[in-house]
Assembly symmetry: C2
Homo-oligomer: 198 residues x 2
């Protein structure tokens, strides 16, 4: 089956918009979706940045916040500019990496994004993350606990290291084979590519 990897960081604003759309797009196109959480931090460091480029570059940042308002309206997504940006995303990403093969992984990903960018909640808090899992009928605290066990902690780092090898420099991304598509606007091109190559 055609297959597409969706690479995201929970701190990334454009990944929010893309994460809310990608599941439906893949389903409509008959493409199997794999959720791949990773951390932008080490990848930004490779580029000499110790913060989000949207914070480091005021002009770029001002545009992004306005663009997100427009995109949220376009796709009817809940939107509240978070009071902390970027939010520490490691905990939620560890959980996502741990449950990436569960059929409900997409529900969790979307819940975290809405918490961060729709409700301004602290997604670095274990109780917040556990509560999101509880919210769709999972045992949140035990899932979070399991995600932080030593043998699972390496999953997220392995994703990030593979992302570095793939040439990733930002988020979100779709990866089809070794072909990289960066940006919220590239989802449709990535899906078209997966169908061409499939």
């Amino acid at each position: 089956m055609r297959r597409l990897e969706f690479w995201f960081d929970f701190a990334s604003t454009y990944s929010y918009v893309a994460a809310m759309r990608i599941d439906d797009l893949c389903r409509d196109a008959g493409v199997a979706l794999k959720w791949v959480p990773f951390l932008l931090g080490p990848i930004f460091q490779l580029q000499g940045w110790n913060d989000s480029p949207f914070n480091l570059n005021e002009r770029r940042g001002a545009y992004m916040w306005r663009d997100l308002e427009r995109l949220a309206a376009k796709y009817r997504l809940r939107w509240r500019r978070p009071t902390v940006f970027p939010r520490a995303s490691t905990l939620a990403a560890r959980v996502a990496a741990s449950v990436a093969d569960e059929v409900w992984c997409g529900d969790f990903v979307r819940a975290v994004y809405v918490a961060n960018f729709g409700d301004d909640l602290d997604i670095s808090d274990e109780q917040v993350v556990a509560g999101l899992l509880d919210g769709f009928g999972r045992d949140g605290s035990s899932i979070v606990k399991r995600s932080l066990e030593p043998e699972r902690r390496g999953l997220l780092r392995a994703n990030t290291e593979r992302g570095i090898e793939l040439g990733i420099f930002g988020a979100p991304n779709c990866v089809v084979g070794r072909e990289l598509f960066w940006g919220e606007e590239a989802l449709e091109d990535a899906i078209a590519w997966s169908q061409k190559e499939g």
Copy 2:
């Protein structure tokens, strides 16, 4: 009538793709198009860059060149990676600023872009630029000469200064009113906005 400004730098790869598409998109949508050449150099300097970010950031640059191959194939545009990047675009931009109100301005803009990114020609050369104008029945050398006269030289700088005020940080851009849309992928959103506001 609904109106959209297309802001471009002839050195910009993504502006090439957008410039080849924007005229048809506007015509189909009933939106009046205004060509606005400007220089990225002073705007990059505001962000602390003395070169294209695609040269300064190797990972970002590698992605851009691959992306351009794909976009050129998608839109059936001639494409040859230029041997000089970014090419000095001031001369061609001065000419474009000087002829921005001519009905054939779009023909000139597209000819310059194809010269730079399809044919790897030196668009900073007066004879090359004059030849492009000659190619669609204009008197190239006199148009180039007039564009460089003192009273016309300020047009390009005025555009760039207005771009700084508008918050521009890259290219291409569409501007509708004071609303800024950055990037090759944002053309359709900009047109939709101009229709909503029109």
